[in-house]
């Protein structure tokens, strides 16, 4: 088609300018893509949550524990199929910058409640047998070069003391949403230690409840909380997704800022491309007048100018999106494990980038299109570039 050929030839008239514009768009789309990926990573905890799991914690806040005795009471609530529990241990592994979740868990039931953590039957059996055995996620195993049988030395901070764990299992993530950066060991081991250092024994951090029917979550949550109403340790039960979401909403000011910056980025792309298109149109006012004289309708000019803007922004956009993948990988490898357990460029992010490219091309060609169409033929012919 003539129009397409014309658009294509036009972007080669100022090779340097077109190349620079494409490069500018590529870089800014890259920044945009990275920010969207970061926001998606923030929500990874919500994405990874199963809809048949509930979390029960102390209603005052998550730093207060609950008695182990609650376990059987919760298990008796109708609709509850399984109850497991965990304690946040934290500790210092190597140094204070190695941040990934380290928890004391019920070795017997944890992996049944979390089917997305894949572990072989042999490894699981080995893990259950030994008092100070531990299981780590495959990402952690890879990053710290840990193998089965290796010892992890961890200094306790919340639970002071020196700890040695033997790795008896390495769990793999079921899919890309699963967090493979955690470490689990026996809650019993932690409990014994807690007694030794004079802490209150038989306390757990939170319960993880598996329900038969996710639609009953609200009813079951209320039933659980009602059990312990007016007790010394009241509970708050919510779906795993709501629990994960409450952590995100605590830093929503940061998320809002990132959102604002990503909008500013789109503004900058528009400015760069609009600048190029304004220059291009200004130089070609005479040509547009000639085209009009020859009888081409105004719509043709619109397609011509908009087509050029679209072609440039699409080329820049594609390069930018392609660059986002390796860079996102680089970011994930550069930051400490556990900061962003999942840092994948999602389909949604790519879609948003594509949308941004479209918006940019429309906004940046608006003025030149208007100018070219409203210019009279005589004025256009008279104009000097």
């Amino acid at each position: 088609m003539n129009l397409l050929r014309l658009v294509f030839k036009n972007i080669f008239r100022h090779k340097l300018r077109s190349m620079l514009t494409i490069l500018g768009i590529a870089v800014t789309i890259l920044a945009f893509g990275l920010l969207r990926t970061l926001i998606a990573a923030w929500y990874a905890g919500v994405e990874a949550s199963a809809d048949n799991r509930l979390i029960t914690r102390n209603s005052v806040s998550f730093i207060f524990p609950l008695p182990l005795a609650y376990r059987d009471q919760i298990a008796n609530v109708p609709g509850v199929s399984q109850v497991t529990y965990a304690n946040w241990f934290q500790g210092i592994y190597i140094d204070q910058n190695q941040f990934f979740p380290r928890m004391g868990v019920d070795a017997e039931t944890l992996f049944e409640s979390y089917p997305e953590f894949l572990i072989t039957a042999d490894e699981l059996a080995e893990f259950k047998k030994e008092r100070n055995a531990a299981v780590v996620g495959s990402i952690i195993a890879q990053r710290y070069n840990l193998h089965l049988g290796d010892i992890m030395q961890i200094k306790g901070d919340i639970y002071p003391g020196e700890y040695e764990f033997v790795i008896r299992g390495i769990y793999r993530p079921r899919d890309s949403k699963t967090d493979a950066t955690q470490m689990f060991f026996h809650w019993d081991y932690l409990n014994e230690h807690a007694k030794e250092i004079g802490y209150e024994a038989n306390m757990v951090g939170w319960y993880i409840i598996t329900v038969d029917d996710p639609d009953q979550s609200a009813v079951i949550s209320e039933a659980v909380d009602a059990l312990f109403h007016n007790s010394r340790a009241e509970t708050k039960t919510e779906t795993e997704a709501a629990f994960a979401h409450s952590f995100i909403s605590m830093s929503d000011a940061i998320l809002k800022s990132i959102n604002a910056i990503s909008i500013i980025i789109i503004g900058i792309i528009i400015l760069v491309l609009a600048n190029t298109m304004a220059m291009t149109a200004r130089e070609r006012m005479q040509e547009y007048a000639v085209l009009k004289t020859l009888g081409f309708p105004g719509a043709f000019l619109t397609y011509l100018i908009y087509g050029e803007a679209l072609l440039i922004s699409v080329l820049g956009g594609i390069i930018g999106i392609l660059l986002t993948f390796p860079l996102a990988r680089g970011v994930q490898e550069a930051v400490p494990a556990g900061y962003f357990p999942v840092f994948d460029v999602t389909a949604g992010t790519i879609l948003l980038c594509a949308l941004a490219v479209l918006i940019v091309s429309i906004f940046s060609s608006a003025y030149p299109v208007w100018k070219a169409r409203s210019q009279t033929i005589v004025d256009g012919l008279r104009q000097i570039g």
């Binding site: 340097l16 870089v27 500013i264 900058i268 400015l271 760069v272 600048n275 220059m279 570039g385």
Partner: protein
């Protein structure tokens, strides 16, 4: 031959209004974000560091990173009180406040989501002496031995049911709000304060405080205080850190996060703005090919031409930088609240524009101008006279 007049560069900038405005806006937006990031990081750091007073030292358990994971046994406080470095008040009592810090959940205004708030139990008699900046702006202080609390200004603004006379339920009991406090914008404004013994009892802490804060006779005594801690067997598990150092450490993750994230993103998209400036300057050079020829024919040297174009680009970036900083300066009217990764609780801080930030931002802007203008300026200066005069 003299240099090309400065006004030549300035006038040329305004010759093409649309291009000028578009390029300027691009630079201004990048500068705005760059400046905002620096202001935010600085605001957080200042809030946290200002929370501490140089004469105050925090004593907590070795190996724990924060008050939240620390524990200091009740018996040890009596030992600590005898340390000679601790200042005494007029009545001859050691200036020492044993404190407990926990996190409680409150519902936020508006969306109603739950937020983490630091609740601090303090020794009523001394805590206010130790923190001179703490001022009650409404109501009164909590009464020792009662289930009363005072609430920081920042919390009152952000969380539901935090007016005087209302109650908050935690630790199996209702606590009545009797006062609102301010603390010169420091982190204490994001805390709830009450009587330490009441809170210990309510939270069933079994005799372990989170930390002990003491006033030293002089900040220089920290070293000898640490020696005393090392030499006393009972205090071997305790470590001392000055308050400003402690609070700076509590904010370091968030500060690093804001800086690294903000600046790396700004860096990437500043490339976009630089390319915008480059396009503009290349166009300026191309449109003025004949002019450049004339300038060279008049005897201006290549270097003068190069400088003139580079100056043009730098002026562009300086104006853009000025606009960006001006826009960013309005952020000072806003405050920013988020969870502090170090303390797991809500902290409110402001955007602070310091002279260093202004300087850094202008340097950044000029850098963008130089990078964007250099290649076009080189092209301008390389034109041969005859070819340029013959062009367009």
């Amino acid at each position: 031959m003299k240099n090309i007049p400065f006004t030549y560069s300035i006038r040329n900038l305004f010759a093409r209004r649309i291009t000028f405005v578009l390029t300027l806006s691009g630079i201004a937006l990048v500068v705005f974000v760059f400046c905002a990031v620096l202001m935010l990081a600085h605001g957080l750091q200042k809030t946290m560091v200002d929370t501490g007073s140089k004469n105050n030292v925090l004593l907590f358990r070795k190996g724990s990173d924060s008050e939240l994971s620390s524990g200091v046994n009740r018996e040890l406080v009596n030992v600590i009180a005898t340390l000679p470095q601790i200042a005494e008040d007029n009545a001859g009592h050691p200036m020492l406040s044993s404190e407990v810090v926990v996190i409680i959940n409150l519902n936020r205004k508006g969306i109603g989501d739950m937020g983490n708030v630091s609740a601090r139990g303090v020794t009523p008699e001394t805590a206010f002496e130790l923190r001179k900046d703490m001022k009650i702006v409404e109501g009164r202080r909590f009464k020792p031995g009662s289930r009363e609390i005072i609430i920081g200004k920042a919390i009152r603004q952000r969380f539901q049911n935090t007016d005087i006379g209302q109650t908050i339920k935690f630790g199996g009991d209702e606590w009545t709000i009797v006062g609102i406090h301010e603390a010169k914008g420091s982190a204490f404004e994001s805390e709830v304060w009450g009587d330490v013994d009441q809170m210990m009892q309510a939270f069933n802490r079994q005799g372990a405080y989170s930390s002990v804060t003491v006033r030293l006779n002089s900040p220089a005594d920290t070293a000898s205080l640490n020696q005393n801690l090392e030499s006393d067997n009972r205090l071997l598990t305790i470590k001392a850190e000055s308050e400003p150092d402690y609070y700076r450490r509590q904010s370091r993750f968030l500060v690093i996060f804001i800086r690294v994230l903000g600046l790396s993103i700004t860096f990437i998209f500043s490339i976009g703005a630089v390319i915008g400036a480059m396009i503009t300057m290349y166009a300026a050079v191309a449109n003025r090919t004949r002019e450049i020829g004339i300038l060279r024919a008049l005897g201006f040297r290549r270097r003068s031409v190069l400088t003139a174009f580079l100056v043009e680009s730098i002026i562009l970036s300086l104006i853009g930088g000025g606009i960006g900083i001006l826009m960013a300066s309005f952020l000072q009217f806003l405050s920013f609240s988020t969870i502090n990764f170090g303390t797991f609780s809500d902290i409110t801080f402001g955007y602070i524009l310091s002279s260093q930030t202004v300087l850094a931002t202008f340097i950044f802007a000029v850098f963008m101008g130089i990078v964007g203008g250099f290649l076009p300026a080189v092209r301008a200066s390389r034109q041969d006279i005859l070819g340029a005069l013959r062009a367009g």
